[in-house]
């Protein structure tokens, strides 16, 4: 009789434990692969002229050779946004000359003038021209200028010289970066 009581007690304990532990009868898991990505900034500097080659494409102009004082040349610099985010844009224009004796010198702004598009490009007074609005993905700016002209007063030092206009275009993100191009921070360090 006591053995039977003992057995009944043990089975009761086991039953209570098992009932408490089997209510969750199905367990399953699955995995989500969540991905975080960043965007970027990329631009293309276009330096075409109003002249086209045999293939119909505009001919770029970088160097001015066999030039004479007062000569004018077509040069149409523009910047294209080739990434996915909006950008602020600015361009720095440098002028140089390679003399007949091989020396390379920097020349004054007056030596080669340009018909700047001041309606769309703002002279920052720091050597840069700033595009007046944010440039969306795929957009291209208005030209910074369309023509450059050698000064009439060039000295004989420049006889046989090759002149160059060195353009440096820079872009910085618009997102979280000011309400205008002048407010923007984070321009590339020179």
């Amino acid at each position: 009789m006591k053995k039977q009581k003992l057995l009944a007690l043990g089975l009761s304990l086991l039953a209570v434990a098992m009932v408490g532990g089997t209510s969750a009868f199905f367990v399953t898991s699955d995995r989500a692969h969540n991905v975080i990505t960043t965007s970027g900034v990329a631009i293309e500097l276009i330096e075409d002229t109003n002249q086209t080659g045999v293939d119909g494409r505009p001919i770029p102009l970088t160097n001015i050779e066999d030039a004479h004082p007062g000569d004018s040349y077509s040069k149409i610099p523009q910047v294209k946004n080739v990434d996915e985010g909006e950008v602020w844009v600015r361009i720095k224009v440098g002028r140089g000359a390679k003399l007949d004796n091989g020396d390379e010198i920097t020349i004054s702004d007056n030596s080669i003038s340009a018909n700047y598009n001041t309606r769309n490009w703002l002279n920052g007074g720091d050597g840069y021209y700033y595009y007046y609005r944010a440039l969306k993905a795929g957009e291209t700016t208005e030209p910074l200028f369309t023509e450059v002209t050698l000064a009439n007063e060039l000295s004989n030092t420049y006889n046989g010289a090759t002149f160059s206009l060195d353009l440096q275009a820079e872009a910085v993100q618009v997102a979280n970066n000011g309400l205008s191009v002048y407010d923007a921070e984070g321009w590339p360090e020179e």
Partner: protein
Amino acid sequence: MKKFSIIVLLFSLIFLFAPNASALNSAVYFEGGADNFVFYPGSEWNETDLFDGFKSAMPGDKLTETVKVRNTAPEYDYVKIYLRAEAHDESANPLSDSVAETETVATMSDFLAQLTMRVYNGGELVYNATPDQTDGLSSNVLLGEFVEGAGTTLTIELEVPKTLGNEYMHRSGEVDWIFTAEGYVDDKPCNCPSCCCQNCESGGNTQPEQLPDGTGQSANSPFTFDSVFGYALILVLSLLGLMASVIVIRKLKQKANLKNE
């Protein structure tokens, strides 16, 4: 202050356009049956991707993503749903192929370490760290107990520092989350939301929105180590209790015999 910026001298390389991030809601449905979990909406990176709003981030961004978690399985009285995160390594949990095309575990971890992420289950903060860490999601966190149609909402906040430099342009990082469901059929009273449906919304009668058409991915893993271990522990404790009962009764019996003698 660093931001994404670029200098172009003469002609630069042309980069491919990437699609803009859309604004779809993310959701996890526990459907039970053969489908188990279904993740929505997925992305071009992975069909189980829940971070739809965390694409093409820029320095200074503060982004928020909400993920609805719903029990839509009709065969259970209620379901407990858990969440944990799992860090990546080269062998046990390698990167997805899409991420591995441009990242290694080391470079990706470095990228994710620049960011800050917070995860709220309803209003409760369950994670606050850089996404390369598992933090409060190192082990299973109970999101709630849900009757059919009920669930909770995870709110994920991502902060990208303004100081993020150009070396982090066009980067990608993968954050693995493992959802676990325990289905229950028992007599436990369930008067949502006061009892078993912790965190559930709309009184536990929330019906799921349009289900994805096969966009999710499921994998059966009916018993986890934790659950098997739990059953074994209960069995062992029961046996120990039985043995203890036998010993106590025998000693009482011996004492009674000694008194009688």
